[in-house]
């Protein structure tokens, strides 16, 4: 419990900054919704005249682009990207911190098992992400309500936003695994930025091309197709399963590797 509180305290500042960043981004994009909505209404009429392949290629679903939820789904991808960077950064840094800052000799000699240490840190990181998400969702909901033109489905809005939380959990788990897998981590930022942006680009480039279902598995950003969510008020089961599998495998591997690892004096 003491470790959990200690870790939580050290994460306080960055969680606060990230929450503000995410909220600011949402505010920014939401502010242009009103003008965009009126423009798009006209365009919607035009699009209906074109073949389905064209519409699919552009990744725009006809009925929803002009609705608030459709608009939100388009801008949300960038916000998810930032949330993923936060989670990945957190995951990579929280365990490697003991090695990078050489405090391992202090902590690992205490009468606590290594798995207790991993649990405390994992829980603290999870809490940080959860709090960031809850605050973000609350504030964004208020903002959305303020600028809305017509009522939107609250449940769907919640489900769309929840996808960011899922993606953050995936990157948190991947981050922790990466940090114990590699022996020497000198700088967290290049790794987390690289992995996240890399996977994002893979998602952006691969999945819009052929709508290949298999390709979607390569990038966590593509696990939650918002048009599907809006249409079916549900997530696609196999991607949910895939996410859970990734998280479980990553977390369990993290425990196993960290428990078995030699902790050297100066890394």
């Amino acid at each position: 419990m003491n470790m959990y509180l200690h870790e939580l305290k050290s994460l306080r500042k960055s969680a606060f900054i990230w929450t503000c960043v995410l909220i600011a981004l949402a505010a920014l994009y939401l502010s242009i919704y009103p003008s965009m909505a009126s423009d798009a209404a006209d365009f919607k009429k035009l699009l209906s005249g074109y073949p389905a392949s064209v519409r699919a290629m552009l990744g725009i679903n006809l009925d929803y682009i002009t609705s608030f939820l459709g608009f939100y789904s388009m801008i949300f991808s960038f916000i998810i990207l930032c949330g993923a960077i936060q989670a990945m950064n957190l995951g990579v840094s929280i365990l490697s911190k003991e090695s990078r800052e050489r405090t391992a000799d202090f902590l690992l000699v205490k009468p606590v098992s290594r798995s207790a240490i991993v649990s405390a840190k994992l829980l603290a990181a999870f809490t940080a992400i959860l709090v960031t998400y809850i605050v973000f969702f609350a504030v964004t909901s208020i903002m959305a309500n303020t600028i809305k033109i017509s009522d939107y489905n609250g449940k769907l809005f919640f489900m769309i936003n929840l996808t960011m939380f899922f993606i953050q959990l995936i990157f948190l788990a991947i981050g922790m695994f990466v940090s114990v897998f590699f022996n020497k981590i000198k700088s967290v930022l290049p790794i987390s930025l690289g992995v996240v942006i890399g996977l994002y680009m893979i998602g952006a480039v691969l999945a819009t091309g052929k709508d290949d279902d298999l390709a979607r598995f390569l990038s966590p950003f593509k696990y939650f197709d918002i048009t599907y969510i809006i249409k079916n008020a549900n997530y696609e089961p196999r991607y949910i399963i895939c996410s859970i599998v990734i998280i479980l495998v990553a977390v369990v591997s993290t425990y196993i590797i960290y428990i078995k690892k030699d902790i050297h004096a100066v890394s």
């Binding site: 920014l28 003008s35 423009d39 365009f43 552009l58 290049p190 691969l206």
Partner: protein
């Protein structure tokens, strides 16, 4: 000379990885051109409202032509190399304090300025290599997919503007690390500023009213529309950008010389 060579060697692995990624990015981006250039889509893009196009990143380009499409692809290339430059710049200065090698290096019979110079030169070489890799990939891929007239000179213009933006973020990165004592926060601050300017560029994409903000976003210094039209780069912008880069570099030297080094 020894520091220069050492830095080149230390950054070798990252450079190779980034170069491969840039190549793949160009490859996969250009591969989508055929989808975009099919006849039916031309009209769709024509009639699409401005804000919608801006959201998609298309803006006012005619993405059915190869130069318009490449102009649409360029911001992604620029963002990637800008991140590389910012991380490289802030990292190469901050690493001595981060890795605790500062006591080793700074008592050698070399002035701090010469240390900075060697590091900057090494960083510059990295930037140039990334740029050349991207340039080469772009020329090859554009030629592969191009059905119309040759746009190699435009591609060169685009990559030249990218080079200047790389320089801006490289120098910004070194400046931040030179100024800040804490080596950990300099990387985050540099990327934070970069992402901030990127968001600003996205906002000004969407609406014309806040164009004054463009001065804060290097991503908007060069008009890609002008390049597509064959007008090349605006000389005044190029000169002001280079002056900005020089100013940042000078400040890097000044700050690093003056401050207490963090043990």
């Amino acid at each position: 000379m020894n520091i220069f060579l050492r830095e080149l060697k230390a950054n070798r692995k990252a450079l190779i990885i980034w170069s491969v990624c840039m190549f793949l990015l160009v490859l996969s981006g250009m591969a989508k051109y055929t989808a975009y250039s099919s006849g039916a889509t031309a009209d769709v893009f024509d009639k699409m409202p401005y804000t919608l196009k801006a959201l998609l990143g298309i803006g006012s380009f005619d993405v059915t032509t190869i130069s318009g499409f490449f102009a649409f692809l360029v911001p992604y290339l620029v963002l990637s190399t800008a991140i590389h430059a910012a991380l490289l710049g802030s990292g190469i200065i901050a690493k001595e304090e981060r890795d605790k090698t500062i006591e080793f290096l700074m008592v050698k019979p070399m002035s701090r300025n010469s240390v900075v110079t060697s590091k900057l030169l090494a960083a510059l070489v990295n930037i140039v290599i990334i740029n050349l890799v991207t340039l080469f990939s772009s020329i090859v891929m554009v030629a592969a997919y191009n059905k119309g007239k040759d746009i190699t000179s435009e591609v060169v213009m685009f990559l030249l503007s990218m080079f200047i933006i790389q320089l801006i973020f490289l120098s910004l990165g070194t400046l931040i690390s030179a100024f800040m004592k804490n080596p950990k926060s300099s990387g985050s601050l540099a990327t934070g500023i970069l992402l901030g300017t990127y968001v600003i560029s996205k906002i000004t994409d969407l609406t014309d009213r806040v164009n004054v903000l463009n001065v804060f976003s290097p991503f908007k210094y060069f008009s890609y529309q002008d390049i597509v039209n064959g007008n090349g780069l605006s000389l005044s912008i190029v000169i002001s950008s280079i002056l900005l880069v020089v100013a940042f570099f000078v400040l890097t030297y000044l700050f690093y010389q003056k401050r207490d080094l963090n043990l």
